[in-house]
Amino acid sequence: MHKIILKKQLSADVYMLKVYAPLIAEERSPGQFIILQLDSDFGERIPLTIADADTEQGTITLIFQVVGKTTTRLAALNEGDAIANLVGPLGKPTHIEKFGHVVCVGGGIGVAPLHPIVQGMKKAGNRLTVIMGARNKELLILEDEMRALADELILCTDDGSYGRKGLVTAPLKELCEQTPPPDLAVAIGPPIMMKFCAETTRPYHVHTVVSLNTIMVDGTGMCGGCRVTVGDETKFVCVDGPEFDGHLVDFDNMMQRLKSYKTQEQEAPHPCKLNQQIENMNR
């Protein structure tokens, strides 16, 4: 059992939990995730990224958005309560070294997994531009933490309630147009955002790392539910990832697979409206 040491509500749907998990805190590296389950008999196993860790306290920090049954139940837990099953750290750690100028793009809840990567990149001596985006001001998370790490912080909101009005791809494009362009881009957020970040950097040949959050059961390579098409190959997000070359990921296939069970719940599946909207905006 893993006790919740601290709970904080970051925005309407987003919560932060500090959970006692000393072994995971000790072993984890940026880019890795955990799988948790609240009930051993009938609960589902969901992957969540590790936003931070404290080896002295023996805690890891989880940041999640309430989207389904398990996250709703998780959000209802309080300090002192415990999480029945927590396993990790899973996935390959982020490849961190001194690249030079690194642009880190985080969208919505994707800012949480981006945080330890920014920490790592900073420590390795990179110059960091962080772009954070959300639908509105209320949904922006970890602004202070990122401000403390970034050499330059660009905030974007869809409705213009804070920072620049518009999508994260706009400042990303401007950075790519500079000479020299960034040495590396890291983009984490909704799949559609990662897809368009990759499309933005592609013409400039800026290597772009994305971190994928797919359907998973075991998280150790056993089930293959997390598989994605990367280039001509099938890769497992849990053991080959979660980070891949964004220019090679088949995001359309990934988004369809993410909806495997949702489309079944609805009578007739429909193409993603957001996808259409963003495509229109990019024209």
Binding site: V87, G221, M222, T234, D250, K259, S260
Partner: protein, 497 residues
Amino acid sequence: MSAHDTPQQIQHDAAEGLEQILHRKEPLKPKERMAIPMQKMPTQDPQIRRDNMQEVAMGYFPEQAKLESMRCLQCKTAPCVKGCPVGIDIPGFLAAAAEGDFQRSIGIIKQSSLLPQVCGRVCPQETQCQEHCTVGKSLKDVNQAVSIGRVERYVADWEREHGVQAPSVKAPTGKRVAVVGSGPASITVAADVRREGHEVTMFEAFHKPGGVLLYGIPEFRLPKAIVQKEVESLQAMGVEIKTNFVIGRTRKLLDLMKKDGYDAIFIGTGAGLPKFMNIEGENLVGVFSANEYLTRSNLMRAYDRERADTPIFKSKKVAVLGGGNVAMDSARTAVRLGADEVHLVYRRTEVEMPARVEEVAHAKEEGVIFHILENAKRIQGNEYGLVTGMECVRYELGEPDASGRRRPVEIPNSEFMIEVDTVIVAIGNESNPLIRQTTPGLDVNKWGNITVNDDGKTSLPGVFAGGDIVLGAATVILAMGEGRRAAASINQMLSTN
């Protein structure tokens, strides 16, 4: 499809048959033994079991267990024993069962096997002990051999119902052994090593121990209560079980020795990395590895749609690719989850199918449609990425290949489409990379399986391995046999230093 024999009828026939024999004064002659009809396994009616998860094979009645055991000729050479990977004294336990001394019978089995309730249910007996049985040979039909596995299951179940005695454990030695994984190989090692008085910790990646017995084999073939009992008996012996613990991630393998002070390690992580066909459309929505499909249903209990949070795909027409036990399990699970049609596609013929004969028969009884000498070539999807069909191609058998089986050869221009919304790929597993990627110096072969010597020792001192991570995908009994050997080797090492 033959009419279903009701359990009542089967019991009635067995009771009559036994009555006649018990009235005799003189012992049975071999010819008379061979004349005893082979005892059928009582099963749930196929029409009823299609809609439930309960065990299909209900187990012998006591009369049947005795009668079937009397069919054994007690051959001096015991060819059956040579077919058993762990060398159970088969004539011995059958003789005891024939006398009705089930306690002695199970005692004999347990000298060599640790999981008779499991093996009695899932061993491919027709290619092991029963393949060599003189009765089957004389009757010119391996399926008429003495049903060794069914009697094994009977006496093992009898023991469970009458209370299993926890094996005694020797005085503490102060030595500590880490067992990685909690499937059949690991359970065997944990028990055999703990018996010698060493402390044992078992590490399981999932939230429940049991490995493939839990996530892979469905309830209708191996009730989870049996697996639970095996695990509880380990705990009663003092084995500590740590779930949610991935060796290679939560802790590096060698840190178990360096940081945690274990004196020896056994790796029994199984063969968990599903193989795919590498054909077009395999990442469409509705294509699953058998591992995923079965894990959702078994471990995550998705078949219980009311209570389980884990979803499972709702299918109308399912194609299962493969001809092994896992393929049968997947097809039969799909039937139970409500699919209208379940097709099993296998590129060789039924003779070459690696599945147990009983599973093939049960699958057919449950309405699974068999397509032999066919294989998938391409999976077709619609604009939403959902599977809509599968292109198959016909095969014929050519010359025998390295495995001695006739090689299936594609018939040119024989492609055709079948309409399906779900494809389950059950063509085996590769070795899981987690431990080898994070353990420098651990030797593996070209398939990624850990290489061991005859004592189960790996290239690293104090580190042993066994089961599917060494063998590639194999059987429960082979995993158990490997575990036995490695445990003996671990005990030997710990007693000498």
